[in-house]
Subunit: 556 residues, 2 copies
């Protein structure tokens, strides 16, 4: 008799459940719930003040509605008996966090706080805590906090304590009223099991926790704001549970929401990008996983602790238990091409695509593919949205060089693709130079499916073979795998994520292999990229920052 | 009784005659003849070999047809009695040259040579003589020829002896068969008067002649190719006539073509850009004329001889008798915006322009005008077609920096306009620093009419007031002015171009004055432009050239 597991992937605009056959990873049924309030970035659902620019909130009840809607739907679609569903895992965007009462009730669900923006969920892309991030970094540097090195020397405004400090600064009553401050990932697991747990992935990557050193010391938090001195003791916990554990069993209430059996195993929460790693078959060092969408996350495992300059962070047990999980990223990949298509593609191309029944990206890919490597004479720096790794600098901007009156749109499009490939190569070489070996790439996410030219360019530029994850919904599959591990072998699941990955995770047959002729030309172009990268990115000419400063002044 | 003069402007695609009232410069009638063979760049009119890329030829009979078509047309339209037409002047693109027999018959009109490409007129934009230009420069440097400095250290492939040397190298029989090698400007005057003359403008700017030193010495020409040793003596002349003189009277034959009186005064030939200077009211130092179209020519007069680095050239009596005429240029101005509109404007903008009944340039101008100075955060180097002044380097390419995911098309469009303004400021400052004062700008050509935003940006960036020529066909007006000078005061014309300009040339009332607030921001942006200009343009990082080399290799 087959056993099944359910993975629930909480994205930015919707939640998605996938019901998976534990014996082979087959994805039997999928259901998606578009959040009723999606991203709240103008005003709160029940009114209240207009939100400042850069705010991005969510309604926690949208997550509960995701469970109520999608799990019954996959059960119904598949016809699977809830008796045969042995586990659930979830993954979430991060850092997405909220203030709650001791019983888990979100402050925004209490009438007293419903009109207070800081009572709501702060979504990962809430970017209004930059002043707080600046303070966190400045104070850490001043106090010589060693943990700063683990995060490439810089804590992001997206992360847990930047968001927390913003609450403290702007609405201290909310901070005081919050019994707990918690990642949404952990909060939804709490709602499923009735028990609060904290996972090592978000704690490590987003909340400055490490297995060996724990959280920053109270003196540091007190230096940020005296109110925060005991933030860990009072509103969080030092009990951090590694990825791959069972968080608890499904509560009777959650069984009612979902139609699943009470006490079904629920896995410790995980992050969308990180959970994709084992789902892309990677449970060992040497193969880097690239989760490629609007932006890109790069994940690689290591057996040793290394300070790699310009990485987003590394966390022991953060991706796969027993390994250091290293994360890097590029902040503008799919977004780059979307920007180009929206702003720079002439009407004649739109018309041609329409007449030939092609998507505009397909038309551009076709035209760009016909170009020989180097024949456009163009080179770009892929910094339209700053540089996450390895320069860790949001104030860098995009550059295009080599344009002539003969330059065609497809040449610029290809130049942008190539620029992201050069940026990726710098990340990979930085890992390699700092003791984290990489010999193969595994891609997942939306882009590898859609753009074969892009994958071949990556292989040619980087000089490594690239495999593609078989699943089109890798994070949800990864969560289902962790659900099966939470259930354990005795219940028909697996005792470890390694065992689960061997059976449930798959790669496509197709493989992208570097073309030696293309590589030769890309070597030359990459050398030029590195020269410009270092000139504009490492302080020789800070024109990009000065232009941004002039821009800010002009906008007033 | 009013007197009239006719100016004939020979452009790239057509010839234009304007009949002008000598008493006030009023343009009474205009007629245009589109050349029947336009630009010959694929194959000769009667067949023959397929032309190589970069070739651009013309049919000299198109020039004769211009006289036959347009002059009778303006006489008819105006109703002016040919008795009252006192003079004719012509201006031409340059260097546009052809091989002819001693009687003026073009070699291409002889059956023996009709299928030989080198027998035809080489148009200014014939770009196939680059190897010859390289040789001319290398040999001149090696032999220490002093004249090289007068041309910014580099002779262009467009110029007279590069084209001549290409004939010598590739079809020496044509070279030998040619009794004369002559600028088309001088050739059409010859056809009008029956007498061969050579003007100081094309001789000086395009054929390495100067009033004080004459042409390069025979030893130099012999070093290029022994066949060329006596090129001046055998196929040209050392008798060069200053601008502003009478070439002769209209021949009976030409009177028959045109309907004008025989012996009507014909002025010495001139170049389209240069003849525009007095027509834009400028006959004295201090005011620079910008002829703004697809590319831009900048002309300024000086009383002394100065070596100004990176200029196209300076010629005594080359623009206005008695002055040194300095010429600089930008190789990509209107072309820049045309490229942008063709390749980078999204369908939504085309749609909006259509719905609102606007030209796409008008829509972009409107959107770009709404931007505050500096608010886009963008900066460009305007080198899409290389840099003519002051770097004199065709291998430089375009650069755009500061792009983000929020960058809009109108921001890039404005950035390109600003880039050409920064480039202009460098030209002006280079003149000023080297002893050629400039305190006001006068613009003419197509762009100033069409784009008021561009003119205001130029005033703000450069920090000088800008006036606009009143005539929409400034070169033709200038030629008519020289026609009136050729006739002289005794016949109802003028004794000098100064007198003619005072009466016949006019500026528009409107004036563009620098806005001090905008200037403040542009000072900062210009400093950034100069930094990038020098970094990429003066050898610190020759990435543009290396990318071009990679491009050439890729194209094979």
């Amino acid at each position: 008799m087959s056993k099944y597991s359910i993975g629930v992937d909480f994205g930015t605009e919707s939640g998605r459940a996938v019901l998976v056959d534990v014996s082979d990873g087959h994805e039997v049924a999928t259901a998606v719930y578009p959040y009723s309030h999606a991203v709240i970035d103008e005003s709160l659902p029940d009114g209240g003040p207009r939100l400042e620019p850069d705010w991005a909130l969510q309604d926690p009840q949208d997550y509960i509605r995701t469970f109520k809607s999608t799990i019954p739907a996959v059960l119904k679609e598949s016809g699977v008996d809830p008796e045969d569903v042995i586990g659930i895992g979830i993954d979430f965007t991060a850092c997405t966090m909220l203030p709650v009462k001791a019983d888990g009730t979100p402050l925004c669900d209490l009438p007293a706080y419903r009109s207070r923006p800081h009572a709501w969920v702060k979504l990962w892309k809430h970017h209004a805590a930059q002043p707080e991030a600046d303070q966190i970094n400045a104070v850490a540097r001043k106090m010589g906090e060693g943990w700063l090195d683990r995060y490439g020397g810089k804590i992001s405004s997206e992360w847990f304590f930047a968001k927390t400090l913003q609450i403290v600064n702007e609405d201290p009553e909310i901070y005081d009223a919050a019994d707990r401050l918690i990642e949404a990932a952990d909060w939804v697991v709490w709602q499923l099991t009735g028990e609060e747990t904290r996972n090592s992935c978000t704690a490590g990557y987003k909340a400055i926790w490490s297995k060996r050193e724990g959280f920053p010391r109270p003196e540091y938090f007190a230096a940020l704001n005296p109110r925060m001195e005991k933030v860990i003791e009072e509103k969080m916990t030092t009990k951090i549970i590694p990825i791959g554990q069972r968080a608890g069993g499904l509560s009777a209430q959650a069984a009612g929401w979902t139609g699943l059996k009470a006490d079904t195993a629920v896995a410790i929460a995980n992050v969308d990008a990180h959970v994709a790693v084992p789902a892309a078959t990677v449970t060992e060092p040497g193969r880097m996983v690239m989760i490629m969408g609007t932006s890109t996350c790069d994940m690689v495992l290591g057996t040793e602790e290394h300070i790699v300059p310009g990485m987003c962070g590394y966390v022991e047990d953060g991706i796969i238990p027993g390994y250091f999980g290293y994360e890097a990223g590029q902040s503008c990949v799919g977004d780059h091409f979307a920007w180009f298509v929206e702003n720079c593609v002439p009407a004649a191309y739109e018309q041609e695509a329409k007449e030939r029944g092609l998507d505009i990206h397909q038309l551009l890919e076709e035209k760009a593919k016909a170009l020989k490597v180097g024949e456009s004479g163009l080179l770009a720096l892929d910094w339209w949205n700053g540089n996450r790794s390895v320069l860790v600098d949001v104030d860098l901007t995009g550059l295009l060089i080599g344009a002539t009156l003969a330059t065609k749109p497809e040449e610029i499009y290809r130049g942008l693709i190539e620029a992201t490939a050069y940026g990726k190569r710098i990340i990979i070489e930085t890992f390699q130079k700092n003791g984290v070996p990489i010999h193969e790439l595994v891609a997942c996410g939306g882009l590898p499916e859609k753009n074969k030219l892009l994958m071949q360019i990556y292989a040619d530029v980087i000089g490594l073979p690239i495999r593609i994850s078989a699943s089109k919904q890798t994070p949800a599959l990864g969560s289902a795998m962790f659900g099966a591990v939470a259930a354990g072998k005795s219940l028909g699941g697996y005792d470890s994520i390694y065992d689960a990955a061997r059976v449930m995770a798959h790669l496509k047959e197709e493989k992208y292999t570097p073309d030696p002729e293309n590589q030769k030309v890309y070597e030359k172009l990459y050398a030029e990229y590195v020269l410009l990268h270092d000139y504009f990115g490492r302080g020789s000419n800070d024109v990009m920052k000065r232009l941004k400063a002039i821009r800010s002044e002009a906008r007033g």
